[in-house]
Amino acid sequence: MFKFIVKRILSAIPVLLIVVFITFFLMRMLPGDVAVQILGHDAPPGDLEILRETLGLNDPKLVQFWDYIQGILHGDLGDSLYNNLPVMENIRNSLEPTILIMILSILISVVIGIPVGVISAVKRNSILDYLLMTVSVFGLSVPVFWSGIMLAYYIGTVHQILPNMYYYPISQVGLAQSIQYVILPSVALGFQSVASIARYTRSTMLDTLGEDYIRTARSKGLAERVVLYQHALKNAMSPVITHIGTNMASLMGGACVIETVFGINGMGKLAYDSLIRRDYTQVQAIILVVALVYIIINLVVDILYKVFDPRVELS
């Protein structure tokens, strides 16, 4: 077990390195000059040159990369080129709404998606199954930014049930208030994953229901309810949980869009804004943090499998 965990952690290192490498060079390929972005278009060329020199932008790319890697190893991801604060501080300041949005949207998609998938699988090929699956395709077909705008308009503006914009931190308005600000963006974001989770649950549930042990459970006279929820669902869940784990990265991508729509200063909007203003170090740090979280979540999911289901062979 210990050996497995160590091996699994070691295998994550090359992935992280590749993420760092790809991000670093993608950022350098972006058109536009950071110095011009910071000082403005009519800054004197001399000043621009001095700024480039201090930011280290004149060094060869590989030297810059080497410096960057060394910084990471010392826990220093650099300062934002935009506001000169350490990039990690900017991330910390924007983390709260994003975490709330992520948790809430995963919750929404799981609470709706899994029951829908189970019902569809149990009532396979019925009208209900057909309807549920068709509605769930609908969720996959709505662009997140548009459902965000529509929710903000109908629920936030016309009916004024929930705030239609911005976010105020828990320390200012309290948790109950803060959550109200993230409900609409989370619904918009979660709605998209409802569909994929429902479909995933349906297909793994169907696979499980075809297994021999389910037939055994039925033939020994167990109530259908027990067979479904205690025998089948439990076993059908593991691939679904993996799916939720791997869905994390795309959810974070959706956060970039939805936070921008709602004017929420979270990590997603920070990523988008930083990309637009060519704040390399900030974008690099965000992608690194997201990748790290993604890898850790998937690592934990893998390890939990091993703990709960010793049959699982993991290479």
Binding site: P14, V15, L16, I18, V19, I22, T23, L26, M27, M29, L30, P31, R124, N125, M133, T134, V137, F138, L140, S141, V142, P143, V144, F145, W146, I149, M150, A152, Y153, T157, S203, L206, T246, A249, S250, L251, M252, G253, G254, A255, C256, V257, T260, V261, A271, Y272, L275, I276, V283, I286, I287, V290, A291, Y294, I295
Partner: protein, 277 residues
């Protein structure tokens, strides 16, 4: 023997393909016939006619620049469908090549798989945003950016198919007959990957259309003078409180288009892959 199907069975089997494909065909027809349907040029700006509510002249109203929303909705399908088909085609071809190489040669697999794992840890929207910013605006550049985002999942599908088919007896017999690697890949393995690839094609197309809309909405997609649904929505979002119709119709156009592609894809999946039922 002529085999007659009961209507209910026929519908269950082909209903979604007919529905999805039919709506999609209708969208293609209307966007091609757009100049016949509306007299307005989506690009023509007349601020004097700005922000009109839907009326007999401007069926879906006008935006702040006086551009006819109905014309944008009609013409916008061109870019969306073009981007969708092109991205799906490029990703499929690139994914096949990459997937075959990965499934067939272990060294290639080891290297490329690591890169793909790295890429999957990227938020895909952020990757698309970055690539689109690097390549600049323009349809072909957006296609390139989205194809890079779409290729890994196709490659993974082909790879896993190759790995399982490689061990099968008909490949072994081909090997025994002295077939070359290339012959085995293209004559013995690739044909068996066709159905998952067709299904994946529709998924890639749908998500490319959605991502293109998001990119244009955020201002890093196709240039702002070209009629795109995301483009008009980015203008409309600031007027949604007073003039919601501007945001409603282009959004619905995206939903209907992507929905028809997804339903078509579902129908194809049921037909081609009985295991997925």
């Amino acid at each position: 023997m002529v085999h007659k199907m009961r209507p209910a069975v026929f519908l269950r089997k082909y209903g979604r393909i007919l529905l999805g494909g039919g709506v999609l065909a209708l969208i293609i027809l209307t966007t091609l016939a757009a100049p016949l349907i509306t007299p307005y040029d989506p690009a023509s700006v007349s601020p004097a006619e700005g922000l009109q509510f839907p009326n007999p002249v401007h069926l879906m109203g006008t935006d702040r620049f006086g551009r006819d929303v109905f014309a944008w909705v009609l013409y916008g399908a061109r870019v969306s469908l073009l981007v969708g088909v092109a991205v799906a085609a490029v990703s499929t071809v690139a994914g096949i090549v990459l997937g075959l190489l990965m499934g067939y040669y272990r060294t290639v697999d080891k290297i490329v798989m690591r890169i793909l794992e790295g890429l999957s840890a990227f938020p895909d929207m952020l990757l698309a945003l970055t690539l689109a910013s690097i390549f600049g605006s323009g349809v072909e550049k957006v296609v390139l950016a989205l194809s890079i985002v779409g290729t890994p999942s196709v490659a993974r599908i082909v790879r896993s198919q190759v790995l399982s088919i490689k061990e099968s007896e008909h490949v072994e017999s081909a090997l025994a007959m002295g077939a070359t690697d290339r012959r085995i890949m293209f004559r013995y393995i690739l044909p068996l990957c066709v159905s998952p690839l067709i299904i994946r094609f529709t998924t890639t197309m749908a998500s490319a259309i959605l991502t293109e809309a998001s990119l244009s909405f955020l201002g890093v997609g196709v240039d702002t003078d070209t009629a795109t649904w995301g483009g008009i929505l980015s203008v409309a979002k600031d007027f949604v409180i007073t003039h919601p119709y501007q945001a409603i119709y282009p959004g619905l156009a995206i939903v209907v288009t992507v929905l028809s592609i997804s339903i078509l894809g579902d129908g194809l999946r049921d037909l081609l892959d009985p295991k997925m039922k």
